[in-house]
């Protein structure tokens, strides 16, 4: 392991994790870290940030572990040699939420069709159809762009700046939901944040099915070859811990008592369903 | 007309004014003199409504100025004040002088003219565009004066207005004050530590001591007939002698002052303890041999103890059993060959001796 130049009072190892906000804000991590700390005599330091910023921290070697949900950018990150040993530990679905009155009439549509409809209705004159986008290059925003693309639209040409119906919030999920609520607009949200906010919102789930809405969370180590002084041992432990049976059980049951439905599904046995390799969900890092 | 009725002012536990009573007539020039810290500035500030008396009332033309806060502005606008520590606004000299006129909504042309005139009058012509902060002490004081004068107040209050000025400038300012009073009928109330200024300018003088007016009177009264030993000392009567009346007839008494007998005009009865005040100017000194014995008054032989220059004069002090000082011109000192240690005779008339009842303490 590394020699840490800052003297630490305890003998505990420190593990620094940069995580996407949805994992943190739902308090999932708060539930499982104490278990890890006890098992491995380590101290876990979690920095919660947007996917973009989290990747930046990783790229600079400021953390030991990344936990994000944007496969495309994760691939680039790993491809560039910054990340290693990615493991998928959970998934859930994005949802399209909107006002109960559903002015665009998208309830029950496929996500792609729903987006096309929102855009059409939104661009019509005298319309009160609005779509609020995260607009922050987060995992959710990436997903949104992917849906526009899948719907056959060119994001920057046909969507962005095509009218006041499409508004980029440039903020976190919670704030974006609040804004959509205020404007009685549509938006794309991860289920966890939506459920956490549901009590304060007049927005309802309108579209929650469709393969494209799949949201996959993974953890990976920062490449110790790039940054020799990252804490790779404990980092390895953490990745393995996330795919361990105990934790997978925790994930599957997390939030059920509070929201009446789970916020995340354990990835352990669903690797086929979510389209990743078995190794990515099962094989411990060595 | 300004009436002071039992005006008192205390700061925390310190009583500064303790029942000042007096009356300044319309069109009068009234000087307040008194030792440093007597409360002169405090009194002027009370009149200008800058502070509130602890007790008593100040009335201007019958109105209690502190009674109705709503009237403060219109009362204040009757008055102009020059402060002891001159302070100027951080702008040009001309702008400084114009402030009061602007408050009264005077038009630009009138302001320019009046300011020019005022600058001329206080001897600062051509200083209009200078930044006021860079002025010398005396220049600032003159700007403050001009500032208060241009508004042509009915009552002009001045707190030691010439403290920082040289005699030539002082004379100019005094002339100006005199003209303002004469030509505009402005009532003027000013404080000064320069008693002679009080005398030159004022119709009446109030001597502020121990929180009250120890004496109010014409300059002549205050300077020749001080009401008390303290006032006498303060107005520059150098010879103040303690004694007891031992004999008396026809208003002329003999006072025993530590063994030396002095004749004085006085109404006090035998046995009364008195202070005798004799102005140095009324005391003659002559070489012992030349003195005429037939003088009807006091002739005391003595030895010169000091000869000290004082302006164009010399102050000669003689020990006659009690110290007596006189003022002689340099010429006289030379002519009479007066020098320390020399024997002389000191003479003064009984009329020149002003007796006051001795202080009770």
């Amino acid at each position: 392991t590394t020699s840490d130049p800052t003297p630490i009072a305890t003998e505990k190892q420190q593990l620094r994790i940069a995580t996407t906000t949805s994992l943190y804000d739902t308090k999932l991590l708060a539930q499982i870290t104490p278990i890890f700390e006890e098992q491995y005599n380590a101290e876990v330091l979690i920095v919660s940030a947007g996917t973009g910023k989290a990747l930046e921290y990783g790229q600079r070697g400021d953390v030991d572990v990344l936990m994000v949900h944007d496969r495309a950018r994760e691939d680039t990150f790993i491809g560039d040699g910054y990340g290693v040993n990615r493991r998928v530990f959970a998934y859930n679905y994005f949802v399209i939420v909107g006002p109960e009155s559903d002015p665009a009439g998208i309830k029950g549509m496929q996500p792609e069709a729903a987006f096309v409809t929102i855009r059409e209705k939104g661009m019509a004159s005298e319309s009160d159809v609005i779509f609020v986008s995260r607009g922050d290059n987060s995992g959710t925003h990436s997903k949104e762009k992917a849906i526009w693309k899948a719907a056959g639209l060119n994001y920057s040409a046909d969507v962005q700046g095509s009218g006041d119906w499409y508004q980029e919030a440039g903020k976190g999920m919670g704030a974006t939901l609040a804004m959509a609520n205020e404007k009685q607009a549509y938006t794309l949200s991860d289920i966890g944040t939506y459920l956490a906010y549901k009590g304060d919102l007049d927005l309802v789930t309108l579209v929650d099915e469709g393969d494209i809405l799949l949201n996959i969370y993974s953890a990976m180590q920062i490449n110790p070859e790039k940054y020799p002084d990252v804490n790779s041992t404990v980092a390895k432990d953490w990745v393995n811990f996330m795919i361990s049976d105990d934790v997978q059980k925790e994930i599957a049951s997390f939030g059920v008592d509070q929201y009446g439905q789970p916020l995340f599904y354990a990835a352990q046995n669903d690797w086929e369903k979510i389209g990743v390799t078995q190794a990515e969900v099962k094989d411990p890092v060595l | 007309m300004i009436e002071l009725e039992d005006v008192s002012k205390r700061f925390d536990d310190k009583a500064v004014l303790a029942g000042v009573t007096g009356r300044i007539e319309r069109g009068e020039i009234f000087a307040v003199i008194g030792p440093s810290g007597a409360g002169k500035s405090t009194l002027l500030r009370l009149v200008d409504l800058l502070d509130t008396p602890t007790e008593g009332a100040i009335r201007i033309d019958g109105t209690d100025v502190h009674a109705d806060k709503g009237q403060s502005l219109s009362i204040r606008r009757m008055m102009g004040m020059v402060f002891q520590k001159p302070a100027v606004f951080n702008s040009t000299v001309a702008e400084n002088i114009a402030v009061g006129l602007r408050f009264r909504g005077a038009d630009e042309r009138a302001i320019r003219e009046k300011v020019e005139d005022a600058l001329e009058i206080v001897g600062l012509a051509g200083y209009g565009e200078r930044r006021a902060r860079t002025l010398s002490g005396g220049e600032m004081q003159r700007v403050a004066l001009a500032r208060a004068m241009v508004i042509e107040p009915e009552i002009l209050l001045m707190d030691e207005p010439t403290a920082n000025l040289d005699p030539v400038s002082v004379e100019k300012i005094e002339e100006l004050v005199f003209c303002i009073n004469r030509d505009l009928g402005t009532t003027i109330l000013f404080s000064t530590h320069d008693m002679y200024q009080g005398q030159r300018l004022a119709h009446r003088i109030g001597v502020l001591m121990n929180g009250v007016f120890a004496q109010v009177g014409t300059p002549r009264e205050v300077f020749t007939l001080p009401a008390s030993r303290d006032v006498a000392r303060f107005v520059g009567i150098e010879n103040v002698i303690e004694g007891v009346v031992v004999a008396g007839e026809d208003g002329t008494v003999t006072v025993d002052a530590g063994g030396v007998r002095v004749r004085a005009k006085s109404p006090f009865p035998r046995g009364e303890r008195v202070s005798l005040c004799i102005r140095s100017e009324d005391i003659r000194i002559a070489p012992a041999i030349r003195a005429r014995r037939v003088f009807d008054g006091n002739i005391l032989p003595g030895t010169v103890t000091s000869v000290v220059p004082r302006g164009p004069f010399s102050r000669v002090t003689v020990d006659c059993g009690l110290p007596l000082s006189s003022v002689l011109s340099w010429k006289a000192v030379e002519d009479l060959d007066i020098r320390e240690g020399g024997r002389v005779e000191v003479s003064f008339a009984a009329e020149s001796v002003h007796a006051v009842r001795a202080a009770q303490d």
Binding site: Q167, G170, E182 | -
Partner: protein
Amino acid sequence: MYEIIEGFVEAIRLIVTLDPDVIAISARSVIISLTATVLATLLAIPLGATIYFGTFRGRKGLINLIQTLYALPTVVVGLLIFLLISRVGPFGFLRLLFTPTAMVIAQTVLILPIMTGLTISALSGVDPVLRDTLRSLGATRLQFLVNIMKEARFAILAAVAIGFGRAISEVGAAILVGGNIMASSFASSTRVLTTAISLETSMGNIPESIALGIVLLMIALGVNLAITTVQHR
């Protein structure tokens, strides 16, 4: 570190190419923060004067409260305004949330305490003899105030500079009540420089963030030069 240099290069590029987005965002920043500063100044001066010259009970407590409010986090200001103007809030009917107006209100509230406090400081810096001089020259309340302010203009304008600096650099309230919206019309958008910087940072675009920070500082420099010019008149 190279990001800083990159940031500088990017800043220059944005400026020389007159990037329309950046111009719109900058213009919005300046308009909103200047408006808030002007409003806050107009409120802070009479408020500060009333407190400074006042003799009412609880004056000291009030001054302490104002000093305490210096520590009001922008997020909290944002939240409070948000609660007041959100659809279900008491002023919801005005539909102000996520508008530039809301940002102006929030920034005004945010900088009001510091500007009031600094006004009080500025006033206490004026020679008491000058105050007496003004009174003795027969100044009305307004004339008195105007002239005292003139005398304290250096300190007052320093307060304005501080107020403006705080307004244009804050992000918590702007993002909460403004929403960092990038819509296609200028008036519906609420993205300002700080919220844009936050966004770029959260996306990991450090050079862009720094470039926008430089643009912001250049704007502040311009405003300050203007203030200094007035200050030394």
